[in-house]
Subunit: 339 residues, 2 copies
DNA sequence: CTGTTAGCGCCTTCAC
DNA sequence: GTGAAGGCGCTAACAG
């Protein structure tokens, strides 16, 4: 055991068949001009030996590898796991393979520079196109098709898929208002994130539509973490006139909010309605199950993949910004306000 | 926008600095013998241009890429997502990068042959070592360090990390017995899976330890899916003497079991205790939260990565089989039996 | 139809 | 300390 046989190369196949490497290469790539007999013979040897061409070597010479690259800093985050799901599904349907490249920013260099490095690394080879998740850079130097998911900058010089953050937030607020709530607290994310800004905007727009004045005391900002959600909620709930509903700008914060409510002796949804954003899988198992805005992160992955492959195939994109739909998922954490 | 600048090569850096490519290569790989001045100059140009060497080209010439490969058929499954988490964590700690390679078995070829192909693809280059998740093959031909997670065959010729399936199942049954249960139903997985077989064994061992006869009627087998769990549970619950507790061999089945109990008008845990296996994140949010066996899939990923890197660094492995610990997680889905 | 030749970008001798 | 030459495994152009 744990003995390592040496790697098989195209040379080995050529030798074993008694033809030249180029002939082997031709059957490997299904070029037409090979005699049926030769073709079959080579094919059989390949089969017997279990040979597969090395991705690295192949990609150096040919422009086409049939592999999509997905670059992310952290494959573990809930968001990225969902992205992976969507990309993988699309890639499967469209007949491509997938390489997920994950590398930590160890050097402490600027995030944008790090992103550029990752791309260069895959670039010039290996993959036919790249999807990058939540990049901070607003420009990339690459010879390859590239598309971003949820880019954190407004104006970028590459195509981007984003969620309809503002519209989703608007829907959340409209729903709460339809239940009779008028004092609605908001727990936001980091203000340097495009998505956080857009959700706050949706919140404000929703109130304005209903002619409700915006009370700055009701607007807090966390960092999309459960812990921050907890603290923001505590702050909101200790207000002299506390809100009857809280819109947390992501599900993690919403979970923290519910914990804070419990600790304060408030029942959800009886005494406090809570609505989230994201629809991560966990929240459908909670009790009460969380009412939230589904931003179908996985469909962002799917859309990005489909567009990228169009780019690869030379079809020009008609748009530079693609939006994945959001929708309200009504579960048990909101209730009509008691007057 | 969407203009693609051409790829930067080591040549560009050499030209810009006014030195030869070999010198650039030397500073790139931190070989000692470069004059400090030259070193600094080259370094600066690299920085300015944002150059990074192409992984493909680099891997063709040098044996070391500092990248670990993780091969899996389906990156979307709960199990594999957990594996990814563990591997990513370890890789981060140990200073390696990670490539996850996912390719579908489109050709309809044998699973083992397909696995071999994936490995060959990365092999000969690209990565320093490979982790393969739940392989069916029992032997691999590769020139590189390789380790498997939860191999589905008993005897394989490469090192493997598995969960302590039998011991975990044993713990589950012991716990139920300690609560006074004596009629304990079992919902298993596919019998061609090593893990399913071992869990069944643990169930039987637990009963035997307590001198409880094994009743074949109480043993059902599903396929680790929620739906199959539901059906098996229905079957168990319609028995003339129905069980007071059910041990489902994975959490998905346990969820199905609880659904079936509800449908039959049985309260969990009041009328039926249910225990699962896996401890997937969702089940801690259920109500009642599921009592289960944590097999810490992610720690399997972590262990596999650590061992693999030892292999890469030339340290011989002392073992060929590594076991990730399991432990009982007591939550709310089990109760002492009412006599 | 098939073999020969010339690199892809990089690292590694081996000279100087 | 540095440059020039050779080749990793593969594909694309060119001959035959």
């Amino acid at each position: 055991m744990t003995r390592f046989k040496s790697t098989l190369t195209i040379q080995d196949v050529a030798r074993a068949t008694g033809v030249s490497v180029s002939t082997v290469s031709r059957v490997l790539n299904d070029k037409g001009d090979v005699a049926p007999d030769t073709y079959k013979k080579v094919q059989r040897v390949i089969e017997e030996l279990g040979y597969t061409s090395s991705l690295a070597a192949k990609s150096m010479r040919s422009r086409k590898t049939n592999v999509i690259g997905l670059v992310m800093r952290d494959v573990k985050s809930s968001f990225n796991v969902q992205v992976i799901r969507g990309v993988d599904r699309a890639v499967e349907q469209l007949g491509y393979d997938l390489i997920i490249y994950s590398s930590k920013n160890r050097g402490g260099q600027a995030q944008a520079a790090w992103e550029q490095r990752q791309i260069s690394r895959l670039n010039g080879s290996l993959v036919d196109g790249i999807i990058i998740s939540t990049p901070t850079a607003s420009t990339f130097s690459t010879a390859f098709p590239l598309i971003a998911i949820d880019s954190q900058n407004q104006s970028v010089d590459f195509p981007t898929v984003t969620a309809t953050n503002r519209i989703g937030a608007l829907a959340a607020v409209e729903y709460l208002i339809s239940l009779g709530h008028r004092r609605i607290g908001f727990i936001g994310g980091r203000s340097d994130l495009e998505s956080a800004v857009r959700r706050l905007q949706g919140y404000k727009d929703g109130l304005q539509q209903a002619n409700i004045d915006i009370d700055p005391d009701l607007i807090t900002s966390g960092d999309f973490s459960r812990k921050a959600g907890f603290k923001c909620a505590q702050q909101l709930l200790s207000l002299p006139r506390r809100p009857t509903a809280i819109f947390a700008a992501n599900d993690e914060s919403a979970i923290g909010t519910i914990e804070a409510a419990r600790e304060a002796g408030l029942a959800v949804p009886r005494n406090l309605s809570v609505i989230g954003f994201d629809n991560i899988p966990e929240v459908s198992y909670m009790s009460p199950a969380l009412t939230t805005i589904d931003q179908s992160i996985d469909s962002m992955g799917q859309i990005a993949t489909e567009r990228l492959i169009e780019l690869i195939q030379g079809k020009p994109l008609t748009n530079t910004l693609y939006k994945a739909p959001t929708r309200l998922i009504i579960r048990g954490s909101c209730e009509a306000v008691v007057h």
